[in-house]
Symmetry: C2
DNA sequence: CTGTTAGCGCTTTCAC
DNA sequence: GTGAAAGCGCTAACAG
């Protein structure tokens, strides 16, 4: 933004009209004589005028900017969501500010405060945990939660149908001949981890699958946890033939264990959440529960746009169905 | 941003001072009597005042925002760079606007124009192609190019040392016994693709590796291209034992071919660029040339910050060294 | 249809 | 140390 930036005032002077008229042309106001509009557009092109959106925002109280907050971005899962969000919002003239919260509640809070100060028109948040009192910071700024819910804060939300996805996977495994299914779970502090466990547990009960406490293990959604739990499970006495893994990163860790152990695991069947590009390459993979990630992002953006435009409908939580990909 | 937002004016009224004093306190100006400052801070806390950064930016002509433009974001490679950028900039009080250019020059141009209108303090760009006349749009806004260079536009840039990385890989392969090395290359329109080829070619010449035109294939950096070229190479008569693959996505495609073909490839050695989490799982992988992606992002951000702060040094291009990971 | 005018909320001389 | 006042560039009544 250099000193010599051309302003509406300058354009007005050159076109011999008032700044109000320039503004009208800029905003497509119909009440401008065509010849006037043409002349103004001419001048604008000539001198390379560009609107100053900061000034416009100050006046209109609209920034056409939304924040997207997530624990981190260097993973395909969150980025697919971000992609869906960005595409959709871009088509509506909005831009996206990226905010990583590093799984820290304090950081999450700081980012929200900043977004508020930057006057974003709304925010899409993948919460770092189930606790969300600080989300009240956003007061009357529209918010859509994605992937996880939060206690103490109600808003629109878009999630996968984790329960059903898990349930269906277990049923499919049973059809394939499973008698016992081990479980590697994420941090129960996250709603999605709880829901996936519930779906698994309920299906086991409904379908008469042996439910052995020792083969149901919990850690967190990260790779190391998957490695560790898979190792623990495979080295235990009653290692099951079927293993349900709760997300992609745990799956990566588990796969790493299977490869590094140097052992063979004949008859082992892995069922896992998340259909990222390489999941199908992993050892023993039998069934993948795919979340529609980009669609989740698009849906979240659509919802947010509705809120921003003042839709007054009551808060809604959308659960998008997962799909199954059977590999062998 | 609701009607009842508290402004400096309101804080001034409540604290019984002028808005100038509030501003001074907000900005840590020392020329404020401690007692006054304390009282102001008290009031600020009490009424939950938050600065309006849009207004501040209009006045100071500084947005503390930078744009980051890339062809797309749903891939680990670009996102690792973005992560490095975001972390670094966040630590300096900047936020990041995400702009996908979809490999389209027109779209890239639109995004740059928008960034300009939003008065970003600078931009970090992963160009979609070698053509960059439209980058002149950014006039006197600091720009740092990442990963790829562009003709017709000079600016700071941060890249991997593609030539050296390729060269070293070929030398290592020769040490491992390679006599002929096939090559799967990216789109020659990209500087990085050209550089990787040059490094490979030079090393072959220097080390006396047979350089067979029929085993040097070019496509683009995408998965399908990797699949197709690998298939072509493996089904040809003189299929080499060593294959150099120019980036991660081609590697994914090539790996998919190797798996799906159902054949065995005894003695096949794959050398590939990019150390993404799963590369080491791929069939026949022998050597990975790792780019320091997050570091590239951090370096780019550092450079940009220097430019923003008015460093007047001449434009620089940094080439960060790659490293080798030998797998077998 | 077009111009005049009054700000949006903040920072920043320039006086005192 | 502090305040008064002038804008940053734009839009939106309100007149005409």
């Amino acid at each position: 933004m250099s000193k010599k930036d051309i302003t509406v005032k300058e354009v007005a002077r050159r076109a011999g009209v008032s700044t109000a008229t320039i503004s009208r042309v800029l905003n497509g106001d119909s009440k401008v004589r065509p010849e006037t509009a043409a002349r103004v557009k001419e001048v604008i092109k000539e001198c390379g005028y560009r609107v100053n959106r900061t000034a416009r925002s100050l006046k209109t109280r609209k920034t056409y900017t939304v924040g997207i907050v997530a624990p981190e971005f260097k993973n395909d899962f969150f980025m697919s969501i971000v992609t869906g969000v960005e595409e959709t919002l871009k088509n509506h003239g909005y831009s996206v500010i990226l905010c990583s919260s590093h799984e820290s509640r304090e950081e999450e809070k700081n980012r929200l405060r900043l977004l508020k100060e930057k006057n974003v028109d709304g925010a899409i948040i993948i919460p770092g945990s189930s606790r969300g009192e600080h989300f009240s910071l956003m007061e009357d700024t529209p918010v859509v939660l994605v992937d996880r819910l939060v206690e103490g804060f109600t808003s629109d939300a878009v999630l996968s149908d984790n329960f059903q996805g898990s349930y269906d996977a277990v049923r499919q495994a049973v059809d394939m001949g499973a008698r016992a299914i081990g479980f590697l779970g994420g941090d129960k502090d996250l709603t999605s981890a709880r829901e996936r466990f519930e779906g698994y547990a309920q299906a086991c009960r409904d379908l008469g699958v042996a439910f052995n406490e020792e083969t149901v293990l919990f850690g967190d959604y990260h790779e190391d946890s998957g490695y560790r739990l898979m190792k623990q499970l495979m080295e235990s006495d009653g290692a099951p033939d079927y293993v349900f893994i709760s997300n992609y990163f745990m799956h990566v860790g588990a796969a790493r264990y299977l490869l590094e152990s140097g052992r063979d695991f004949p008859g082992l069947h892995v069922l896992s959440f998340d259909d990222l590009p390489l999941a199908a390459f992993f050892p023993c993979i039998s069934l993948i529960i795919a979340q529609p990630m980009e669609e989740i992002g698009r849906k979240a953006a659509d919802l947010l746009l509705k809120r921003i435009d003042g839709s007054t409908e009551k808060r809604q939580t959308f659960r998008l169905p997962t799909s199954m990909r059977i590999l062998n």
